[in-house]
Symmetry: C2
Subunit: 295 residues, 2 copies
């Protein structure tokens, strides 16, 4: 019998989405950073994301940082759509033996991140886990975006310049627990430029750029040496490590120079790493797959 | 060091909610069946709920029923607020060795339940789990409710008649995997009567009625022999088993007779089990506590 590990994450999600009915008010369904739903004149962003002990954080990780990460991942997805955060629901699945102090620190981390970047916790749920099971924190949230600023993954066109923010690779050394979601940068970007396609880098450029290009019906060419690397990281690590939580986006070649000159000095570094192409250009392999990664 | 098991579920949730900032548009925050948020002229319901292997379903449970249960629990919470379901996000946390067929059946069950009761899946996430960890399905959803039909847990008044739908107890024999969320009944009820307080019975009447009474600032008196019991169940089981997913609500004593005479024959049985009181009346103990239940 085939397992989800043999199939891999993207084909699994594709199979699960096949049979789904879609309602009329759904502007963007499964497959992008967030779902987008029309509510009267507003566009609502919906997102759910989970962190699991042993997968997204180690048992010895400070609970406050785990809490920060759990909500910052969702904030990063709102940023990737050009949106802003709203209300959050938190599901805690905990073994009974979890120290109370750990849970309080977790909440402190979540609250600190929301206080800094926007968003409020309005509810949630606690559930017990069998003894020894890994802690799981599932965060669901509602955000909002204006029609003008909404960016999906599928709007890229051949010739578009491909940009990334920040430095890639080596996140496991600490950034994965303390990264800054790029809400401010995305808000400025979508306010001032016509961003064609955007997503946040969570599974590594090698996994995420092909996703964006494929949804845009394009290929891509990248200059590997141009990829902005975290100090001490190889190009391979920058491509494949994952959990960068930086923005990956494309804009027209014509706007690229203007963007580079207007990008604020206070923002993280901005790097043009390549171009979307008409035909399949480069190939990339590697990056994080939740299921087909060897155990 | 104190653990969450020593503290218990309700005090844990209370502690976690203490430090939370609340935004102006939040009509109902943590502590009710759903959070309620104002969006323009609409009232939005937000809910998250998880089922965990070994806690909410056994490994041998049919995946289709597990899927049904995962979304029906959320639908039951929308019913409890007088609302209707909208868009759903599904987070699947699975070990790599999970059979693909199991996941497909799970989705069939979720889709079947939503097709019958309303609501669409618009996105979600898959994440891997360490080998051997229990499967977890976390469902987040958005619903809607009219201001006139919105019912919270805290509106009960002394003298109110206390009602429950259906039969209580013995859910573990099968109903917990195949129950019908009481959306239709709740819609009729809130359309035609001024329901003062309502919730769905998930942790057992013995746990849930004191919660509703306390939030309403009331005590309660119940007639134990009047509690509608599933065939073969003792009063104790009807009080404490949990996972009934029936409606528990209060309305004025004056309206109670009218309600009993107008309640549709096609609806599940309706039973008046007692009265809210000014002072602390009965005590109930037992029911399901996720954390302080002995292992």
């Amino acid at each position: 019998m085939k397992t989800v590990g043999e199939l891999g994450e993207d084909p699994l999600v594709a199979q699960l989405c096949e049979g789904l009915a879609l309602a009329k008010n759904v502007v963007v369904g499964p497959g992008d950073d967030c779902a987008v739903v029309r509510e009267g004149r507003s566009l609502i962003l919906l997102k759910t994301d989970a962190v699991v002990e042993g997968v997204h954080f180690l048992p010895k990780a400070p609970a406050k940082k785990v809490g920060w990460k759990a909500v910052a991942r969702v904030l990063s997805d709102f940023a990737a759509m050009g949106g802003r955060p709203g209300e959050f629901l938190v599901t805690l699945a905990l073994p009974k033996e979890t120290p109370l102090r750990w849970v309080r620190s977790l909440y402190e981390g979540m609250s600190a991140c929301l206080a800094e970047h926007g968003g409020v916790i309005v509810g949630g749920e606690t559930t017990s886990l069998p003894a020894g099971a890994p802690i799981m924190i599932s965060v669901a949230a509602r955000g909002a975006v204006t029609a003008r600023q909404l960016v999906t993954r599928d709007g890229g066109r051949p010739g578009d310049a491909i940009f990334v923010t920040g430095f890639l690779g080596g996140s496991i050394k600490g950034k994965h627990l303390s990264f800054t979601p790029r809400l401010e940068e995305a808000a400025w970007l979508t306010e001032n430029f016509r961003v064609r396609a955007m997503m946040d880098l969570s599974d590594g450029l090698a996994k995420d750029l092909p996703r964006l290009a494929k949804l845009s019906g394009c290929g891509f060419e990248i200059e590997r040496e141009a990829i902005p690397r975290t100090r001490g990281c190889s190009v391979g690590a920058a491509l494949a490590d994952g959990e960068d939580y930086e923005l990956l986006f494309t804009i027209s070649d014509r706007s690229a120079k203007k963007l580079e000159s207007e990008w604020a000095a206070s923002f993280p570094t901005l790097t043009r790493i390549g171009t979307l192409t008409e035909n399949e250009g480069d190939n990339l392999s590697g990056g994080w797959d939740h299921f087909s990664r060897p155990s």
